[in-house]
Symmetry: C2
Subunit: 363 residues, 2 copies
């Protein structure tokens, strides 16, 4: 091989609100000459195998808008993608060229800074963004699972539920956006721990999936019921842990249903992310519950746990749970770089049950 | 002594909004015959020496109004005072008659269930509401300090700052309602721990007191400045701990100024307590900061700490700090049962700097 094709997805325009495939993304047909490409110190060429389509990438696509100076965006300014640039995500890659002494050709890595492209030339010392995949595990676990689930994707819900939620047998957990990747995993781990697990989702199909495949104790379609009534019905003993993915009015209602000393794991507040004017955000009126019920609320991001003992503990437990069938992981795998933008937009529109993954190459 | 006077303050009408002395309270002139009074098992007669005038008592004066069924009031239904009943508070008393084998006549106790009256006949086994006062300490510390400050009153701010706020040298703490009893103590303890201490209060006199007597690093009158601007000016490095006494719009603005991993000690949200219609409460629109900055928010009540090792640790430290002059405790002592209602209403109206105490009898 000398010069080969290296298609990739670049940002065509900064989306406002929900991105559209044709308006905001462009598939570009490029080439790469791997043999003759000269690597700088500690550089890499990766052959990308699986891309994970994650909601956080949406935050990197917006234009830089200074808000309240002390407000921290989930995507910092330097992570924002410029128009014409390849979009950056996470996934599984094979190292096919490097001069970094800590890596060798043929290593499989979970990489946090992959381009949405077939081959990535990583120009920085990327060691802190690369994590080795133990090939021995591949006899039991599909390689695609390492594009997110076994690695960073599952670590966040696992660690936050365990160390912020502090689940105890017999308690009730309520999970919003429960059919999403995070919600599914949180609910299943909570079942393993012996909790009553109640989830909300946006379609009857998702509710069926939660009840019949994941064995949630209760689930409801939030478009069809009034949340306050639903929580009386499905959480008869109140809520001990709220796994918060949506924010806004949902949080306002849930606070009224929390028990004394309930824990709120603040994973995301997705209902508020597309509201750019701070005055238009939903105002939560029930915060006195924090004082009167001695609630505990904590935010986190996955990087708080990466590289800690909690990460090792997670990988050990999750692999056992997958092997023993205690955790069901649902993924939909699309084929080819041509399907990345469409899969990403469908995921943002909530079409997915479980994780969306794109397979870029055979391994 | 046989039959003696025992004046007390009863509830005349349930206040809505701010109570008024003549409308809602009545001084009743009663008698008590201590010698001939027959005690039931484990009963007591107390001679009340000092009453503490505390904001929480206001919560016990309202009519029972079922709100959201799962909402917990700070005062539970059984704590609510009925019209014509003696109001219940905390303070220092001398036991003058008892058949409880764990107590003897002459013991001084900090009692949580005193009537606002000169003598109280305690009909229940009140052991869990009585705490012995070590008379050896009285050579260094005025007895009035035991009516709240050294006991329950100071324990709450001490423990919550230490165990929820987790103060570290060099950090910045912002305290709302900083000239109140809780705020003063929190600010002074934070100074001892080496923090930059910034407080807000509602009058220039209070601001002067915070700056000149308590040596806060900065303080401002919230009626005269815009909070957002003030926090940029007085907290140049952002806020690491917010000691929350007021809630509502203050909390909304403070969240924007919090640093990564800031802690919010949710002591009270007094700005919201007099708003009875849930729809009229202030809606806080900046909660996304919890996720993006990984904030930690926790509510508590003092009973979470009572009887724990933290309480012993508190009493030891606070007594050392008072003796060494590191903590200034400001109290205003009124004389006589006739002044209880007026002092209480003045305190609710924010007239006090420091603690209001009523002396009922010499010791």
């Amino acid at each position: 091989m000398t010069i080969i094709s290296n298609k990739g997805v670049v940002l065509k325009a900064h989306p406002k609100g929900m991105p559209k495939v044709d308006e905001h993304f462009e598939l570009v047909d490029r080439t790469i000459d791997i043999e003759n490409l000269k690597l700088g110190e500690n550089e890499f060429v990766l052959r990308n195998l699986y891309l994970s389509l994650d909601p956080y990438v949406r935050l990197t696509l917006k234009e830089h808008e200074p808000k309240h100076e002390r407000t921290i965006n989930k995507a910092s300014k330097k992570q924002l993608v410029q128009i014409g640039q390849i979009i950056i995500g996470a996934g599984v890659s094979e190292i096919i060229k490097t001069n970094n002494p800590n890596f060798k050709v043929g290593d499989l890595v979970y990489a946090l800074n992959l381009g949405w492209e077939e081959y990535s030339h990583i120009k920085s010392d990327a060691t802190s963004n690369f994590f080795f995949i133990n090939k021995d595990l591949l006899k039991d676990i599909p390689l695609s699972y390492f594009a997110s689930f076994i690695k960073r994707g599952g670590l966040a819900p696992y660690a936050s539920l365990k160390y912020i939620g502090k689940p105890k047998e017999g308690e009730t957990i309520f999970v919003s956006a429960a059919a999403g990747f995070v919600g599914q995993l949180v609910g299943q781990i909570a079942k393993i721990k012996g909790l009553r697990v109640v989830g909300s989702a946006g379609s009857d199909e998702k509710v069926d999936y939660l009840l019949n495949e994941l064995k949630f104790d209760a689930a409801f379609n939030y478009n069809k019921v009034e949340l306050d009534k639903a929580l009386y019905e499905y959480c008869p003993n109140g809520i001990d842990i709220y796994y918060e993915n949506v924010g806004g009015e949902t949080l306002e209602v849930v606070l009224n249903h929390c028990n004394l000393f309930a824990r709120i794991v603040a994973c995301g507040m997705i209902s508020q992310y597309n509201i750019t004017d701070p005055k238009e955000k939903y105002g939560v009126k029930t915060l006195e519950n924090i004082v009167t019920k001695r609630l505990y609320i904590q935010g986190f991001v996955v990087t708080d746990y990466i590289g800690t003992d909690i990460e090792k503990e997670y990988e050990k437990e999750i692999i056992e749970w997958i092997k023993s069938g205690k955790i069901i992981y649902k993924e939909t795998i699309f084929d080819g770089i041509e399907n990345v933008a469409k899969g990403f937009v469908d995921m943002l529109n909530g079409k997915n049950i479980g994780k969306y993954i794109v397979k870029l190459a055979d391994y």
